[in-house]
Structures are given as structure tokens and as C-alpha cells.
Symmetry: C2
Subunit: 265 residues, 2 copies
């Protein structure tokens, strides 16, 4: 393995090298954290190429564009040839996507002729329109961040209450903040339990997102890339609109995207 | 002074007695915190009536009703005759309001013939329809909680960018989560500073609230009761819709409402 992949996100630096994954908490200086993780693994004099996602101080690339375009190497350490992977920026509507870039690249590496929309649940979630091997446009939503601010840490389930809340929010998106209050009132009055409240709040927020993201899924080929309950919720919400989304594995796509970046240097 | 007023909210117990205000951090047992604050002030054998807002384990009263109806005294301590002030509950749409109850009562104590709507910014904000000395209906919104989850601790200003964002959210409330992402993208790209971003995010959230709360202010006499930048924002957002809201002092109203509760025992 003549290279490594690293991601800086959510206060953590994750390093992938030689089939191993290492992680270190890191809120301020990812360069120091990367040296701390990587240098003990390198023989003296050995120089390693590193692809870095989420690296600070990197100008994003304007869409439409190919998603994976590693920047020139930076002087971080004599043994580390660091190529940051830029984020993608959109002028109208103003938007920026950074963390999902390797996963977007991974889908295109596996399916160069993909023509459709990637839905990437997360903080933020991203809807990415892809055509002719390029990202044409995208939109991010702070849904998961609002959800975690309003609810407990439990998982939500994509049950009937969830789907009802999706439908409700899509038909009356303006009433979102009031419906959120109702769900919390029912929880405070013990008319519903925390899991039901979270499912309803998740349904309201994801329904409002679907209402705003309609051009990204209506009549489109959609791939939901994510894992865990949040991705299940997005898939169930789309299914309730008659959209049978494909699923893709985010870890696999991430590595495929980073590998594509390595090959593009 | 033969009585005291106490409020349990936001992890703190605040006691008002003899013109003084004392506070103690309190997340679990407000009874113990109240004894700790109050008993050192009482001569042996003296018994004090205490009106308590936000007290746990008190059944709320169903609207329409008079807002201030203290519950029977509880056995907390031989020297403390504690009368909790119940919250208000509404069945359709399901909603619950607790903290603002004394302030609502204070307005009615000062103006028994008030007929209109109280807008109480806060966590949550509440819109309260009042007629014939009763709370007829109300609606709460988690706007301020979402705002603090998404932005820094700085104050927002009700400037032109704020009002533009209010207008934008009111005309397209479904696009809220996407517009919030745009504001954060502009901040991340340093196209705008943190204060401008917060004003825009506050404008989007308050605009969405106004869109959902339209029956509570359109053609109504509105009183905004709150202080600081959040109340300024609500007043400015309403002014942009042609609603010149009266302002009322929340601390004064709180004490007037607690006094009314004392007199109602």
C-alpha cells in the first residue's frame, strides 16, 4: 500500500491505511493529529501519499464538475505527501458540500454512466444530481442536526407513525415548527413515549426536507447511501412517495472514492 | 411579605421574596433546592405561602380557562405551604404551555378586558389567544431551540438581512431546511460573517413561525412580551407584516401573574 486515506469530520481524524482504520480525537490541528497517527507506521525515509477529505483551508470546486479532483500536495511533513480533496460549491442556491465528496466519487467510480440522484443522509444530508460523470447540482439540509437538537439519542424507527408524520409535513410544510411542538407536548404529557416522539419528529423533519427537495426525487432514479436508522427513515419516506430507491454502502463508496482520488493524482 | 414566588425552569430555581431574587442551579429536586433557599430566611415557626411555576407532577388545566389557577397546597415542609401553578394543555392541536403561564396571568391582572393575542418569544415561543379573561387557544413553537442548535451564542440583529429572510421564509416555508443550509454554506465560505448568518437564520426560522402562526396575528391586536434581541426580532418580523405590536415587560408581568395567583388561593 503506497498510500493512505484520511478524513477529518465531527471532531475526529480517521485514517485508513493498509486495510486498517485508526482514529484520534481532533478539533483543531488535523496536521498534528495525522502525523501522530501515521508517522509511527512509516519506516524512516519512506514517503507516503495521503488523500485527505474535509481538510481545512482548501478552496472548494464550483459545480458542475467531476466530484473527485485532489488538490496539489501540501508540505505537511517530509514523509507525508498530502493531497486534500476539495469540497463542492454551488452559487445558486448557495450551498457547500464537503464530507460526502468521497462517497459521491465512489459511486461514479463504480458506475461511470450513473444518471440520477444520490441521497446521502447525515449532518447535513445531501441530494446530489449526477449526469455525464459530473455533479450537476446539489442541495444540503440541516435535518439531522435539528433532529438531534430536539430529541434524545435513541434511534427512531420508520414505523407507521413516522410515515404519517412524513405525509403530514409534506402536505403542510409551513406548520412544521408547530407540529414539532405538538409532538413534544404529547411526550411531556406522556401521551406518547420517547421512541414514538422521535419517530414523529423525524417524520416531520424528513417530510419537510422531501417537500423542499421534490425536484431531486420526483421522477428520478434515486440511490440512498447511508446506514443505520436515519438511512432507513429516508428510504421509507421516499417509498411512501412511490420512489423505490436503490441502496448503496457508504463505507465501500467512501473507499472507492478515495481510491479514485489516489489514481487521479 | 407573607408569601414568595418561585419558578423552576432551564435547570435553575429562582425565588422571589421580599423584593429580593435568589437563584440556585437545580436539575432534579426543586423541593430540596427551595428548602435550601427559603428556610434560612424564615424565623422558626413561621409558615410561608409559596406560588410555584414550572413545578413537576402537576396536572395541566385544559383551555379554554382562566390562566392562573393555583393548585391545592402540597406538603413540602412544615414551614412552606407550596401551591403549584398548573400549565395549560390544549387537545387540538395538542400543545402544552408551562413557563409563560404567570406572564399570561400578569397581562390579564393588569388588563382584565384584554382581547387579543400575546406573543411570548422564548424556548418555546408561545402565541396565546385571550378573550373574556380566558385563554381561548394557544400554539407553541420550538424556533428558539432550533436557532440555538444551529448558531453561535451571539445576539442576532433585526436588520435588513433579518427582515429579508423573514419574507423569504414566509413566501416559501417549505424551503426552510434548504435555506438554512445556504446560510450556513455562506458562513463556511466566509461570504458572510457570524452575525449576518445568525440574523439570516433567525429570520428564516421566525418567518416560518409567522407563516404557521398566521391566524394568531393576522388582523389581531398583538402584544409581544419579551426582552433582548429575540423579542426585538419578533417585533420587527411582525412590523414587516404590517402588525404594529404593543410591547410588555415580561418581568413585571411575571410578578403581577404570581401576585394574582397568591390572591386566588
Amino acid at each position: 500500500m503506497d498510500w493512505a486515506a484520511v478524513e477529518w469530520a465531527d471532531g475526529e481524524l480517521r485514517l485508513w491505511h493498509d486495510g486498517r482504520t485508526l482514529a484520534a480525537p481532533c478539533t483543531e490541528d488535523p496536521g498534528a493529529a495525522l502525523r501522530g497517527l501515521l508517522l509511527p507506521m512509516l519506516a524512516p525515509g519512506r514517503v507516503l501519499t495521503v488523500i485527505a477529505s474535509g481538510w481545512p483551508g482548501v478552496d472548494p470546486i464550483r459545480v458542475p464538475c467531476r466530484p473527485v479532483q485532489p488538490a496539489p500536495a501540501r508540505d505537511l511533513d517530509p514523509q507525508i505527501r498530502l493531497h486534500p480533496l476539495p469540497g463542492l460549491v454551488q452559487d445558486r442556491p448557495a450551498d457547500l458540500v464537503v464530507g460526502p465528496v468521497p462517497r459521491i466519487g465512489g459511486v461514479l467510480a463504480a458506475r461511470p454512466d450513473f444518471d440520477g440522484v444520490l441521497c446521502l443522509p447525515g449532518s447535513p444530508s445531501a441530494w446530489v444530481q449526477i449526469s455525464a460523470s459530473e455533479v450537476v447540482s446539489f442541495r444540503t439540509f440541516l435535518t439531522a442536526e435539528i433532529l438531534s437538537a430536539l430529541t434524545s439519542r435513541d434511534d427512531a424507527t420508520a414505523d407507521a407513525g413516522f410515515v404519517d408524520a412524513v405525509t403530514q409535513a409534506m402536505s403542510r410544510p409551513a406548520a412544521l415548527a408547530a407540529e414539532l411542538s405538538s409532538a413534544r407536548a404529547d411526550l411531556a404529557l406522556r401521551r406518547i413515549g420517547p421512541a414514538t416522539a422521535k419517530a414523529r419528529i423525524a417524520g416531520l423533519l424528513i417530510g419537510a426536507e422531501l417537500a423542499a427537495a421534490r425536484p431531486w426525487w420526483l421522477g428520478q432514479k434515486v440511490v440512498v447511501m447511508g446506514e443505520g436508522w436515519l438511512a432507513e427513515c429516508y428510504a421509507a419516506a421516499l417509498a411512501a412517495q412511490g420512489v423505490v430507491a436503490e441502496r448503496a454502502d457508504p463505507a465501500q463508496a467512501w473507499l472507492a472514492g478515495m481510491t479514485a482520488a489516489r489514481q487521479a493524482i
